[in-house]
Structures are given as C-alpha cells and as structure tokens.
C-alpha cells in the first residue's frame, strides 16, 4: 500500500471553527469516516462535530489504512464503493489482522443480500444511504453498547455525569435511567450548554421527518427530563418565547 501523507487524509477537528456553538470541551468519540464523496464526508463530519465528536476523514482505503496506523478510533464509518477498492474486502482484511474497532458500513446498496454480505464481512451494523442522522447516532450507540462502550463516553456537567451508552444520568451517586428521547434531548442540550434551542429545532432533532408531531410533544419530553435532573445544579430553563436551554453547570 502506498504511503500517503497523513495530513491530506485527515482533517483535524480543531481546524473547523465555523460551527459557532460547538461543544467547547473534549471530544467524546473519535470517528474515522471512510467516504469518497467530499460533499457527503463534509456534511457527516459537520454533523458529528456539532455533537462534539472528533472525525478524521479518509477518501480512499489507503488513506484509511494510514489513519488506522496513526490513531485509535472508537468507531469506523465505512463506505463500500471506494476508488481504490471494495470496503468489504478492506474490512475482512482488518478483521483478519485482528483489528476489532467497531465498524458501521454506510451502504448505497439496499438489497437484502448486500446487507447480509456486509455483516458477513465483519461489520457491526450497516446503514443505508441516505440516512437519518438520528438513526446513525442510534446505531452508533447500539454498536458501542454491544461492544461494551468506548473509553471516553462519560460526560460531566456541573454535578452530574452522563453516560449516553447506558442512557444513565448520575447525580450524587444516584443513577437515573433516561428513555430514548429524553436521552437524545439531553444530548442535544448538553452539546451546547447555555444555547437556546427553539421548540422547532428540538422537534426536528427528536422526531423523524417522516412522522408528524404536535408542537407541544416537546413540552412532554422537557417535563420528563426535568424530573430526571431534579436535585442537580444543572437545570433546563424555559426562555419565554424562544425555547429552552441547559444551564447551571
């Protein structure tokens, strides 16, 4: 495999500052995104970065190989059709070499046989393009949960610690379970503390666009999340006429 300069393969997360409200703190999960379309790669990277993750991008399999030599990743997002080969064969080679980094394949091939094929190659899961970003997150969570979790998944805010994989919030030694939408709502708010999110914005993130939701559905979830956070210095504030924000940490 030809050695490609690592710099061309990776786009450091810190160099990307156009996303103003990005989480100031540390990176939660490190992703390797192997995708040959620069446009798609950029948008997926932006979305993951917005949620506070670190993303390295490789446009080819040889770049991906270089990245894997240089760093450790919590999860690889792998396209199948790449300019220098088939992602499935790359994956098989990785598994044979004993690399067990979780892999989610992003496939444009939706046929059942292709999906079976992908799992047989050693992928942990697959997602069909074009995908709902919330679904990608859900699959990432599910894969990491199955794999026993990534190293740096606990987030702290004020006096609470939050583990998105087990969907638990711990306040003063007391562990509280979050249901799926409470978890996602909390993740959204936690990614940008003190930023005001409108009801619409939250709705768009919590519900699929394929379903229609009433406006006050969001109030229900905010109410539930507030109960789960009771007793913490962190709280969800209603900003009249504008929306909600997480504050107090």
């Amino acid at each position: 495999m030809t050695a490609t300069p690592l710099a061309s393969a990776t786009i450091p997360v810190k160099a990307d500052n156009n996303l103003s409200w990005r989480q100031a703190g540390g990176v939660y999960l490190r992703f390797l995104l192997v995708e040959d379309s620069p446009d798609l790669a950029k948008s997926v990277r932006d979305l993951l970065t917005m949620d506070g993750h670190g993303v390295d991008w490789a446009a080819t399999l040889s770049e991906a190989q270089d990245c894997l030599h240089a760093a450790r990743y919590d999860l690889i997002l792998l396209d199948i059709m790449l300019p220098d080969g088939d992602g499935r064969q790359f994956l098989q080679a990785q598994r044979r070499a004993g690399h067990d980094t979780p892999v989610i394949v992003m496939t444009a091939r939706a046929a059942v046989s292709d999906r079976v094929d992908v799992l047989d190659s050693g992928a942990d899961d697959y997602i069909t393009k074009p995908f709902d970003f919330a679904e990608l997150e859900a699959r990432v969570r599910a894969v990491l949960r199955r794999r026993g979790g990534a190293a740096q998944t606990i987030r702290r805010y004020g006096d609470l610690s939050f583990n998105p994989l087990t969907a638990t919030v711990t306040i003063a030694e007391e562990v509280r379970d979050l249901r799926n939408r409470e978890l996602r709502l909390f993740e959204i708010l936690l990614a940008a503390p003190d930023r005001i999110f409108s009801k619409d914005q939250l709705c768009d993130r919590l519900f699929s666009y394929a379903e229609s939701v009433s406006d006050n559905a969001i109030e229900v979830y905010v109410g539930r999340l507030r109960k789960k956070l009771a007793g913490s210095v962190a709280r969800i504030e209603t900003v009249r006429g504008l929306g909600y924000r997480l504050t107090g940490g």
Partner: protein
C-alpha cells in the same frame, strides 16, 4: 397435421420419416420378390417348353408321302408337370400348316435352327407362352424349312408367382409392423440425451450461470456451444447490470445523502420558520425517493427470485431475531419497544432466506412506522398444524377498514397514512413472498385490547 409444421415435434417427424422409409422398403421388397418369382417361373416353363419343342422337331422324319410326326407321350408328360395348363402345337412345312392349330401365332422373326425362340402372345381366351424351333428337312425336291411351335397357357406359372408374391407381401407387412415400435424406440433413444440435457439445464438455480458440461452426443455439441455462449453473454450482461445497479444506486444515493445531511445541518442552524418548513419538506422528499428506490429493488428481487426458487432449510426464529436486531435502533428512535416472543427452539421451514427476510423486514418496518411513541411492537413466532407463523403485532392506527386485498396491491396505501412516508410496495412484497413460498399472509385489525387498536400481520409458512 401438426407434425408437418416446422415447429412441430421433432420426434413425431423422425418417427414418421422412419415409417415412410419402412413402407417404401416393404413395397419394394414385394415388387422385387414378385418380379423375381415371375422370372423364375417363366424360365422354368421356357426350359421345359424348349426341350419339348426341340425334341419333337428332332424326331420329324421325312417319308415319301410327307412328314412323320411323333408326338411322344414322354414329351407331353414332361409338359404336364406344370399344373393344369393346356397345350397347343403347330407344325409348318414351307409355310403350310401340316398339323396342329393353324392360327397359333407365329414368332416375330423366324427362329434360327434348333435353339428355341420364346414369346408370349394372346391366343383364344388366354396368354400363351410359345416356343418355336426350325429345321430344314430334305425331300425329293431338296431342303425344305420346317417350323415347330408349342404353346402353353400360363396358369401354373401365375399360381406359383402369386403364392410367392403373397408371401412377399406378408413379409413386407410384417417388416413394416415391426418398424413401428422400433422407430418409436429409436426416436426415443435419440431424444433421450436432449431430454436429459434439458432437465439438467432446467434444474439449475437462479444464480447458476456456469457453462453446461452435461455429457451429450456429438450432434448436440453445436447446441450446447450456443447455449454456453448465451449463458456467458447472459452472465456478462447480468454482472454488468448488477454493477450498473450498484453503481447507479451509489451515484444517486450518495448525493441524496449529501442533500439530506446538508438539509439537517441547515435545519439546525436556521432560525427562520419559512426556511425550516422548506428544509423539512426537502428531507421528506429525499426520504420518499430513497424508500421507493429500496422497495422497488426489493420488489424486483422478490419477483426474480420467486421465479427460480431456491429451497433451503431456514430457521424462521433465527431470521426473526436477526431482523429484530437490525430494527432495534429504528424502534428505539421512535421509542417503540420491540419484543420477540414465541415457542422455544428452531422453527424450520423451507425456502429462500433472502425472500423471507425481505418479507419480515417490510412487515416490521410497517409496524414501527405506523406506531405511536411508547407503544410496543411484538414479533410472535409460533408453530401449529404443520405451519410456522410469525405475527407482527403493533398498537398503531390499524387499517381503518382497508382490506388485505386492497393493501397488497402495488402502490396502494391505506386511507389513514397520508402523514407517513411510504411507497405502497411493502405489503405487496410480503404477499408475493408468501405466495412464492406456498404460505399465507394475513392482515387484521386487533380487537379486544385495552389500548384499543393496532394491527396483527401474520406471515405463515409450511413447516419443514
């Protein structure tokens, strides 16, 4: 008659041709035997007639007052050997009939000496075979030509020839009758290799595009060669099509993903309500087209694979668990609890695992799609009466009275689902898979629930 059409049965044609040849041979045999018999009988008669005539001619004696003819008994008894035939004779001296029947027909050319001339001629009511010899006798005046003729009717000869010919006819008929089963047998054995070849090709699975290597007679080699050439071209075309579909999907879905992801980013960043509405409808559009494309492909796959059905043992409960696992995150997103219940142990059925998975996927996708948050979708696997059954039970909006027949039509959707993205192909796929595998698909409204409503979709296959 059908067999004469160019696209009629080759076997019938071959049998017919063999029979025609046999018939011609039989007729030929008859005529050959008949002619030979005629000739043999004639030759026998000629030999006796000639001998008798010559003997009479030799025993003519010239006397002072004429000719002394000795019609010896021995001579005529020799002639009597052939059946009940009548005899006629005539002796001419110097062209004057001296004894016998004076109107007995003369030969066309006078015979040369004692070697007999034979000819056939009608006389009275019958055909006569006549032998004529001539000699010269010396009288006072000098040598005088004497002509001796003996004619005999031909009934005996005809009788012998007829009986021989009748036997020949019997032999010919027997030969023809024997030829009928023989030609049927031989036509069968000629076409057996073709049938075996056809069977071998027909037994092949949908993805078996290897060249045909079945042993076959040399004459079939061009056909097999052509078939293999065709298979090779088909394989090329198929792999091209598959590559093309995969690439087309890649090239369409990748930009669609970009559109969708960019729209999601824009939606997160935009505070303008009008823009947000547009972005949302954009995302819905992308979702609809992607879903339609997937289901059209699934549908095409189901049609293709049911045509050339692969039958292997499949553990239905294993497929259910796999499908449920694949949908876990989707259900989680909607806060729908996904449960798998049912009888223990493997639920073996027979069929194409990919088809079964496609059907279960579509059922589960539907159930989750139409479920309200915080409800349950249950996949129940049971066996009963030689069948295995997967029931997908949801607590969703039900069918609002639409029937299974309506909903399993292509591109038809229920009346109560306008707000949910869908293509109208999902249940069509499920119904088609059930039919292809000899099973059943049943869809009904759930009743008697406290939550009041929901759908129960049952996918039933014969147990192995």
């Amino acid at each position: 008659m059908k067999v004469f059409l160019p696209n009629g049965s080759l076997r019938a044609k071959l049998v017919l041709q063999l029979l025609v040849v046999a018939a011609v041979l039989a007729v030929l045999l008859y005529f050959t035997v008949r002619t030979t018999a005629d000739r043999a009988a004639e030759a026998t008669q000629d030999a006796i007639l000639g001998a008798a005539t010559t003997s009479i001619a030799e025993q003519l004696r010239a006397t002072e007052d004429g000719v002394d003819v000795d019609l010896a008994y021995a001579t005529f008894s020799m002639l009597g050997a052939i059946g009940q035939d009548r005899l006629f004779y005539r002796i001419d001296i110097e062209g004057q009939t001296v004894t016998g029947y004076e109107d007995l027909p003369l030969p066309d050319s006078p015979p040369a000496g004692l070697a007999a001339t034979f000819y056939t001629s009608p006389y009275l009511d019958a055909n006569l075979r006549i032998a004529a010899v001539s000699r010269s006798m010396t009288f006072d005046k000098g040598p005088v030509p004497v002509l001796v003729m003996i004619g005999q009717t031909r009934q005996g000869q005809a009788a012998i020839a007829d009986s021989l010919a009748n036997r020949a006819a019997l032999v010919g008929l027997g030969f023809f009758l024997l030829a009928v089963p023989l030609s049927l047998l031989s036509a069968g054995s000629v076409f057996n290799p073709i049938n075996r070849l056809a069977e071998a090709v027909g037994r092949r699975g949908p993805r078996d595009l290897r060249p045909v290597r079945h042993p076959a007679p040399r004459e079939l080699a061009p056909l097999i060669g052509a078939l293999n050439g065709f298979v090779a071209r088909l394989r090329g075309a198929l792999s091209q099509t598959e590559t093309f579909i995969a690439e087309a999907a890649h090239h369409i879905r990748t930009p669609l993903s970009t559109v969708r992801a960019q729209a999601e980013i824009a939606l997160r960043q935009s505070d303008d309500e009008a823009t947000r509405v547009r972005l949302r409808s954009m995302i819905r559009g992308v979702e609809t087209s992607a879903r339609s494309a997937s289901q059209l492909l699934d549908h095409a796959m189901v049609l293709y694979r049911s045509d050339q059905l692969e039958r292997v043992p499949v553990d239905l409960s294993q497929v259910v668990r796999n499908v449920a696992r694949a949908f876990e995150p989707t259900a989680e997103l909607k806060e729908v609890t996904l449960v798998v219940t049912g009888d223990d142990g493997a639920m073996m059925t027979q069929g194409d695992p990919l088809l079964i998975e496609a059907a279960l996927r579509n059922l589960l996708d539907n159930a989750i799609k139409y479920s309200a948050p915080e409800t349950e979708v249950r996949m129940d696997v049971t066996r009963a009466d030689g069948t295995v059954r997967v029931s997908v039970l949801d607590q969703g909006r039900g069918l609002s009275g639409a029937s299974l027949a309506e909903l399993s039509q292509r591109f038809t959707r229920g009346g109560n689902v306008g707000d949910v993205v869908g293509s109208g192909l999902g249940l069509t796929i499920v119904a088609e898979v059930a039919t292809a595998l000899g099973g059943q698909f049943d869809l009904r409204e759930r009743t008697g629930l406290q939550s009041g409503g929901g759908t129960c979709a049952s996918f039933i296959l014969p147990a192995l």
